[in-house]
């Protein structure tokens, strides 16, 4: 049996089922079976199925019919699409403005802390472990637009407000971004901290010997050494925020007056928002278009930044 075989290396000579078993081929297959089943059923098959469903009309009641590119046409002619794309882009852009520079500054400062470094990183990461639903519902309480809402009370101390937060078209989307940044920035801080420990200290020492100031060391050593990670977290954050769903769904359901409808909320509403039966074709068409856009965007981004991301 395979267990007794002292050297289960691959046999180059005649391959028969027996040599395959003795060579460990059967054992490898047995170990791979759970993974092949689960990935096949719940990852690879649905990916292929998406491409098929985008070309079909199906609502689970009647049998599916082929409709060519009709679903894509429906989506592209949906008057809500430009609004959703604009809101998603604004969300992603604002999330970069709020959530990109602050974690970097925080991480550089934290990496030079001499005591309590664990306390710093634990505090920064704490919001990340709060379940997102809890975070959103809690912040919904904070955003109460009355003068006795939590944020309005605090701002009232310095005679500001009260602000409508989620109830106004102008402030609803930034309010969502603010909560999302609070919930996610800690993860970015930890990634930067890990990258900062990888910066070669000899570079710093050499610069110190040459009499470089702290600012010059940050500018000429720290930032260039973090280049790769900085570029990566940016594209990952864009890919993540382009798929924002929870905040608009739970905070505002897309309102007021569609001010917070995002692409993912549209996909959800196509498929599951209508109690009479979902328009699964349009939902998959839109999700494919989003995935294709993200893929092209990432490739273009990697190409554009390749020249200065390599170390």
């Amino acid at each position: 049996m395979a267990e007794r075989d002292p050297k289960p290396v691959r046999y180059r000579a005649r391959r028969t089922p027996v040599t395959w078993v003795r060579g460990g081929g059967l054992a490898a297959l047995i170990f791979l079976l759970p993974m092949l089943f689960v990935f096949g059923a719940f990852s690879w098959y649905p990916i292929v199925r998406t491409a098929i469903m985008a070309l079909q009309h199906t609502n689970l009641v009647q049998p599916a019919t082929w409709v060519g590119l009709d679903n894509f046409r429906t989506v592209l002619h949906d008057p809500l699409l430009p609004t959703a794309v604009k809101n998603t882009a604004v969300f992603a852009g604002l999330a970069l403005v709020f959530g990109y520079p602050i974690p970097l500054v925080a991480a550089v400062l934290m990496s030079e802390v001499r005591r309590l470094r664990g306390v710093f990183s634990a505090l920064a990461y704490l919001p990340v472990v709060i379940p997102p639903v809890v975070a959103v519902l809690l912040w919904k309480t904070f955003y109460n637009g009355d003068a006795t809402g939590v944020f309005n009370t605090i701002l009232g101390w310095i005679h500001l407000g009260p602000y409508p937060w989620l109830q106004s078209q102008g402030t609803a989307l930034p309010s969502l971004v603010l909560e999302s940044t609070w919930a996610n920035a800690g993860g970015t801080v930890i990634i930067y901290l890990a990258a900062l420990t990888g910066v070669n200290s000899e570079l710093y020492e050499a610069a110190s010997v040459d009499g470089a100031s702290i600012w010059r060391k940050v500018w000429h050593i720290t930032l260039p050494q973090l280049r790769g990670v900085l570029l990566l977290t940016m594209i990952l954050q864009i890919i993540g925020t382009a798929q924002v769903f929870l905040e608009p769904y739970l905070f505002t359901s897309g309102g007021p007056a569609n001010a917070t409808v995002t692409v993912l909320l549209m996909i959800y509403n196509y498929a599951f928002g209508n109690s009479l039966g979902g328009d699964y074709g349009s939902a998959t068409a839109l999700s494919l278009m989003l995935a294709a856009f993200l893929a092209i965007f990432s490739l273009a981004y990697l190409r554009a930044t390749r020249s200065w991301s390599t170390r």
């Binding site: 490898a28 689960v38 030079e112 990888g198 710093y204 702290i214 798929q243 979902g278």
Partner: protein, 301 residues
Amino acid sequence: MIRRSRRSVSTGHALISPADWRRPGVRWGLGGAQVLLLVGLVVIGLGPLLWLAKSAITPTLDTLSHPMALFPHGAAWNNLREAWTNVHVGRYFWNTVALAIGSWLSQIVIATTAGFALSVLRPKYAAVINALLLTTLFVPAVVLLVPLYIEIVHPPFIHHSFIDSYWAIWLPAGASAFNVVVVKRFFDNLPREIFEAARIDGAGPFRLFVAVVLPMSRPILGVVSVFAVLASWKDFLWPLLVLTNPDRQPLSVRLPNIQSQTELGVFLAALLIASLVPIIGFLVFQRSFLRGTGLGGALKG
């Protein structure tokens, strides 16, 4: 990842040298900035949770009229009991636990067996499977949502819907390419000589897996475990779609409904109960959490 030891690199005080620290401008400026950062982190990171903890045991009327006051009319411990029993948060809590344990088990089994096969046994077709795995890493989750849902409602070959079955959560949770890749990379860095020695001593693949590889992988299994449980505890959209019976739903799906049906104090108590397990888990397994997050950045890079 593992081999690039940090010991040889930085000892902590790298950017700012001891000589820099001796300059008063640096010490005061930077020290001040760090104290400010700590205060900011306490207010921003901890503040909302402290407020939640306070308001969960404050009478609703007090929270509504004076949200920032500290117990103007005493505490209302009753909020917690009412949430747990009358609002059935207790039941939803145990549903969440059951979903988390099953998802954890499925992720651990898949990630370790697949990682072992792809890293140690390495059959000839391993390269193909690796490529397929890496492809799925690049497919955004939204692409899977609708077809996966339809597959659960109308599974191929089986004429039985899996709506309201926990298997509809547990099994898809196992299909995490990230886990497999991380575990495989960890196995790749284990010393091959030990495997050879075990083989010469007569250990077959199964003994090798259970008696040699798994015991050596505790750090990575810890990382995968905490993230598996946390991800399951956080998950909202997928359980919302496939679990339609309120008695079977986890906390994350129930909380938005609870909000519209209960008074604020009891609802905030429910929110507090829902976040206790992740917070305590994080404080206990902090090292695994922070290591795994750094790992995520390193892997994707």
